[in-house]
Amino acid sequence: MILAVVIFALVIGSVIFHFASPWWFTDIVSQWDSVDGVISITFWVTGAVFVLCNLFLAYCVYKFRQKPGHKAVYEPENHKLESWLSAITTVGVIAMLAPGLFVWADFVTPPEEATEFEVMGQQWQWNFRYPGADGKLGTADTEFISELNPFGINPEDPNGQDDIVVNAPEMHLPIGKPVKALLRSNDVLHNYTVPQFRVKMDMVPGLVSYLWFQPEVTGRYDILCEELCGIGHFIMRGAVVIDTQEDYDAWIASQPTFAETQAMAAPDLAAGQAQYAICASCHGAGGEGNQALNAPKLSGLQDWYIERQLNHFKTGVRGQTEGDLYGASMVGMANMLVDDAAVRNMSAYIASLPDIPAQPTIQGDVANGADIYDRNCAACHLDNGNGTWYTDAPKLAGMNDWYFVTQIKNFRSGIRGLHQADPYGEQMVSMATAMAAKNTDDTKEMEDVAAYLNTIR
């Protein structure tokens, strides 16, 4: 009796929940309304079956519950009824399947006029490539992958020279034109998903998969990885910006071609050295750092990392958050580097300084620090703490332990890494937050990791 009432209530409650729920599909921004159409058909068919079957179940439980003097009816089978039920079910299944297959046929055959772009996934970054003026992407292979050629574009392939390479997790597309995404991975399985587009596909190392869509609404949308790809899976984020044709043209023109990235002039170390004189007053002539002035050691850092941070200071991505006292003082200094060439020269000069490990200043539980480091940090910063361009992770071993602790605190408290233009910083915010509960103020775990890093320098 109660059971019948509860089942009845659950059916009604589920229907109410469905219609009252604020949680539903995001507004679609591609042309795939047909996908939503099939969902809608399926929803109504299955919804009707759900309500009817369960209400009938509740009715049976209520009506035929055991009562004195009542006896069940003996009825082994009823062919007519069973045949009818099979037939109705088959019709319902066809009603859902047939439109689904038509839409799928549409999905597997991208229109002729669709322009291609490439998405390259790797632990835990997104990179994008567009064909240049020739409309063709150059061939690529894992064997060509290096710090200077992260896409592995075949340097001999003429089609690849004018390819536009976007070595950052933000891509743009023009509105109203069909596009075909060619999906690749460098390492493990990933998945290219933009929920508002309604389509997704895995990215598989060793092959090129694809999907297509036509953006219909301008805006900035998240790209998520939706195939488990290691501990950084949940922080593998990117963004796609749907532009008007005009904005898109301007954006794509500002991106370098493959040939340009390969032919960049060697940095001028002498110029970097000349400019470094002013840095030396705090960071030391050898880049060794000075804790009294809160200036961290620079020597040993990779040039691409220094370059990125200097640019962040210059463009207000870093150093302008309230509470970032020492970062703020870097803003003015970085702005003394007038152009990109100056930043590159400076970065190259610092990277060329001899790397003498910093003196340890922090004691801690090395074993615990090693455990935390292995579980959370090593996947990007490597077991030896040297970091790598591949994961955009800077060197940690042999750097200043006190600076390390300060920065982890900054990431955890939102002082660093939350700016939209600092996607790698955002990854660090997530990881630094994950390392320990946010509401604990003590720095013990960070100090343990710092102490461990001191042992592997």
Binding site: S21, F64, S86, H233
Partner: protein, 587 residues
Amino acid sequence: MAYVPLADQDHEQELHHPHSWVEKYVWSQDHKVIAIQYGGTAVLVGLVALVLSLLMRMQLGFPETFDLIDPNAYYQSVTMHGMIMVVYMLTALLLGGFGNYMIPLMIGARDMVFPFLNMLSFWFYLLSVLILLASFFVGGGPTGAGWTLYPPQTSMAGTPGHDMGIVLMLVSLAVFIVAFTMGGLNYVTTILQYRTRGMTLMRLPLTVWGIFVATVLGLFAFPALLVSAIMMMFDTLLGTSFFMPAIIESGTPMDYEGGSPILFQHLFWFFGHPEVYIVALPAFGLVSDVLSTHARKNIFGYRMMVWAIIAIGGLSFIVWAHHMYVSGMNPYFGFFFATTTLIIAVPTALKVYNWVLTLWEGDIRLNAPMYFAIGFIFTFIHGGLTGLFLGNVVIDLPLSDTYFVVAHFHMVMGVSPVLVIFAAIYHWFPKVSGRMYHEGLAKAHFWITFLGTYAIYLPMHYLGFLGVPRRYYAIGETDFIPASAQTLNESITIAALIVGAAQLIFIFNILWSLRNGAKADPNPWGSASLEWQTPDTPPVHGNWGDKLPTVYRWAYDYSVPGAKSDFIPQNMAEEDVEMEDSAAKGA
């Protein structure tokens, strides 16, 4: 069919009689003791997996609150929870536990055909569990590659447990499959060869049919998992490239070339999809028998039910790639697999209709086993219908890899079979233990579990519609997930913690009732099937005393018109059935 029952040679059979306590309860060859060993181990390891799921829920519901759940531990919990529940809990409990206990008793046999092999099967299973649990104690911990163990990440630096953990997982699976094969061959042979006189195939209870077809599926499906485990082990330890293309690890090229990660997915799901039915079919069988007994009515459409089980079993081998619609395999496969997948809905729906029609015009006894069985119908309808979304290839595009998938498969192969398992444990407890369970506690257990799991999984589907991805340690900032999703996650977590805690009621009920439950009648439910007709309760070694039973009818003679009793046991001859006097009959 020319079938000569081995039962006719009963007097020539010799049972292995135990000579000591150790032989009786430890190195036992009695199918009933082995069943309890299997079932007990499965429940214990299932509790471990339950705790892991609660750890995950605590992180998702209350992120940044619990220190011990870092991404590493989270992904390890995801992986171990999934693998333990699917393989080491559900498969082992339904086949090793229920299969072992029910088959000989339901078909009128004294034991399995190969009792020694049966014993070995359990000990290999236990060994596989111990190897699996050992991975919690090795450096790097258990693997965190997800229960699907997709390469290449399984053995790469960014994945937890990529060195020892994954190897132990693969070894444990291989040992489990050895155990399953020994048990499985035994079940199939026993059902085909050891049926007693008169027990034709079309008189078997649906429990036996479900277990039989599930075991056949397992014998064909597990080898695919075994070879993929061995190939992956070669890739990991010997440097072969079955599943490994040329890839980069932390900026350095690895020493692999030419392998295919998708090949692994095909092998895995060639096992993985039948695995769903390896769990579901025994549950279908068990619940059919519970429903029929307590509705005091024959199962409706028995022959259709048998053919549906066989059809589902057959079809389950040609739907596997619906798990791979967005895997990057050739997308044209989608047409074929969407069609086969939706076809499988037809026999499955018929089973649901027949369960409900079994209740129609019944005389439904609403006790705890029946509560669970009826609850199962509700959750299975829900979970089955959401499968039509995911199976219809184009809907899988937005919903794949979201919480909709998590909600769907937990509803259909988590909650549903588990409700059946509880129904079955309460239903057969009097026969197994000789005592009654506590009805009030069992019903309390039902209400919390049934309502609690619905409170967990109904809203979870909506997180999926919204597009919240699964296997995320934390959602973080996005442009499309509203803050209210976190509130929903909190409530799901609270419901999960309550449901988790409620399982203690079950454990307590079982343990308490074993000692203090009221003495049970040999056949307290008035059940017609053979296992309730044993001369001793609980049945003793050899099951049937001096003489094997003879079967005269199917297992569902409830409320037969004219008969005095509202059930006629399978082993009662036509002439022994007491009829109502003709006056009453006319009325």
